[in-house]
Assembly symmetry: C2
Homo-oligomer: 363 residues x 2
């Protein structure tokens, strides 16, 4: 055990969110807090109505367009609030009181989302894996053709499941992509609305990415609060009010980094590799096992437990001692969760696997 486990030079951050970002991003952000781009000003004191911040916002929005290969109908917004705000904002903007929205219930986040939608209209839960503690993605369901939209959570952060393919439906598709945005290719233009809090694959906590097909807006009867109406944010270029300047800036840095890596295609290959390595290590181990059904396993959040639960505390301690951070599973699943977001180096996955193997050998 000695060799591998003694050294604790770097932290290996497997936290589910907020999460690891590229080291170069931390370095640039740290500098900008002292002196942004040689302006003599901290990024934290920079006015948002300046050419400097306008350039940050513009580049961030256009990089998202480029990386996701979005068409002209899709608008990119950086909004205040976490994804939980979108649980309300989506139905408020899209669903009339007498209309019905379809939801797939694949975890706590889906179920929180559909709860909010009920305040604005009717909700039809077209499928659910709740009975199986959300350990799989439902495949056999139909979405009524008169649904105003169909809401899915592409990756279920807590349970380690992921929609490997997006269901073909005839109604506008809305996706909570909090925990797999920018990690793999999707046909992003096939979505009417995508939202994601920054704090997994895009940046620090404190800003929401919203990608919306502008053609679906303006079709509800209710009067919308100014700050909740996506159209106002589009009209004002995502600067309807003071934006979360620093969170947008760090998101831009992370998007620039992603582009330098080769974009989503390139990162997806590495993400596949990281996930395969870890899942196969777990599958080949005598101590550990995964919780999600194999075909629906998430490439972002690997959830696993120990066959002998009494050993879990011990492994967690060993992991912690060795700089493996944020690996404790969500209380509703237990065990462990290793989040393998874009910025988590392959070497950290290797390290975790070695620690698991050493543990297996020695305990």
């Amino acid at each position: 055990m000695e060799d591998v486990l003694k050294e604790k030079k770097v932290m290996h951050n497997f936290n589910a969110g907020p999460s690891v970002l590229p080291r170069s991003v931390f370095e640039q952000a740290s500098k900008a807090v002292l002196n942004y781009n040689n302006t003599g000003l901290s990024i934290l004191e920079l006015g948002h109505r300046t050419k400097e911040f306008q350039a940050i916002m513009d580049e961030a929005r256009s990089l998202v367009k480029e990386l996701m290969n979005l068409d002209a109908d899709h608008e990119v917004l950086f909004l205040h609030g976490g994804a939980s705000t979108q649980f309300m904002q989506v139905p408020m903007n899209l669903l009339n009181e007498n209309e019905t929205a379809a939801y797939a219930d694949t975890g706590v986040w889906s179920s929180k989302a559909l709860k909010e939608a009920k305040l604005y209209g009717n909700v039809k839960v077209v499928c659910s894996s709740k009975e199986a503690n959300y350990n799989f993605i439902p495949k056999d369901f139909t979405v009524p053709g008169d649904s105003k939209y169909f809401h899915i959570t592409t990756n279920n952060t807590i349970y380690g499941t992921q929609w490997q393919s997006i269901p073909k439906v005839d109604v506008p598709l809305v996706a909570d992509m909090c925990s797999d945005i920018f990690s793999r290719q999707r046909d992003f233009n096939s979505f009417a609305l995508i939202f994601a809090g920054a704090q997994k694959n895009m940046g620090p906590a404190g800003v929401n990415l919203v990608v919306v097909d502008k053609n679906i807006l303006g079709k509800v009867d209710r009067a919308l609060p100014t700050i909740m109406d996506y159209r106002n944010h589009i009209k004002e270029g995502s600067m309807l009010n003071t934006p979360p300047v620093f969170a947008v800036y760090v998101s831009l840095l992370t998007l620039q980094w992603l582009k330098q890596q080769g974009g989503i295609d390139a990162i997806e290959k590495i993400n596949n590799q990281k996930a395969e390595m870890l899942y196969s290590a777990i599958d080949n181990s005598t101590l550990f096992q995964t919780t999600a059904v194999k075909e629906d396993r998430s490439k972002m959040n690997v959830c696993f437990v120990m066959k002998d639960p009494s050993l879990e505390k011990q492994f967690l301690d060993v992991a912690e001692q060795h700089g493996i951070y944020g690996i404790k599973g969500h209380r509703s699943v237990g065990g462990f969760r290793a989040s393998l977001y874009n910025a988590l180096p392959l070497s950290s996955v290797n390290y975790l696997i070695e620690v698991m193997k050493e543990f297996e050998k020695n305990y």
Copy 2:
């Protein structure tokens, strides 16, 4: 002109928001982005459900309580979104459809606030200085005793006016304190609800401070979206969902700095001094004059114009050349606005005055 104007060693940030923060805060924040408190982790990748972040949130909330001398009924929340979100959230939580809220219309921000309230109930504008381009604070008005609440904007950022004393009313008082929070003493316990975006006197853009008397909550009939119900945030200790971690952390640093300065009493003295210095320089100048009525002048935002408007461009250029930043007035008032927030050093005010005097001598 030479001596004073040639040197541009430091920037003097008079921006109205986002705004200058203490240098020591920038330095601590910059370090934390690389390595928070020797955890080996960036503050940007730190999980919010950790003992480290819990300590940040707890200390930030209790420092607000301490600095504002709040009683046990008043809860402190750090919420997502800018103050514009509060324009909606306040009436949503406090005003029934058939009830009336009273608003004082003292500027664009008041008028935006009351517009949102109309979506939730009736609004009575009990006074307005709109006809005078908001250059004064109304004194002669009554607030009907059956108003659900009375909303004021304590400092009008754009027009440079400020309520020097808070009107005594028999109904719950709600205050937008965005631009004078923590800058002067008020009887904070006399307010039912106070909100302020961080980006003037408290921290970076991207978090809202809300101080609320919990006794006024739970009295509306409408079903509230989970994320909009203040009670949920109180119950969850201001961590209902992923908070804007970094913005809360930098706010904490700024609050710690304020406490080190001697708290609100001490900073108020300096703020008074800064405002008096600048106003008297303007009053004594032949070129410049203020726009707000004297008795209502803001101690935070000093709005002034030139008697000969054709000189304004020239002065702005000179100011900019000499590191005087963010001094352009809002387009609805024109001229100049020097914001003298807590973290703006007295030396910057002195410097601005010298530049004005030199300009007056030479042009």
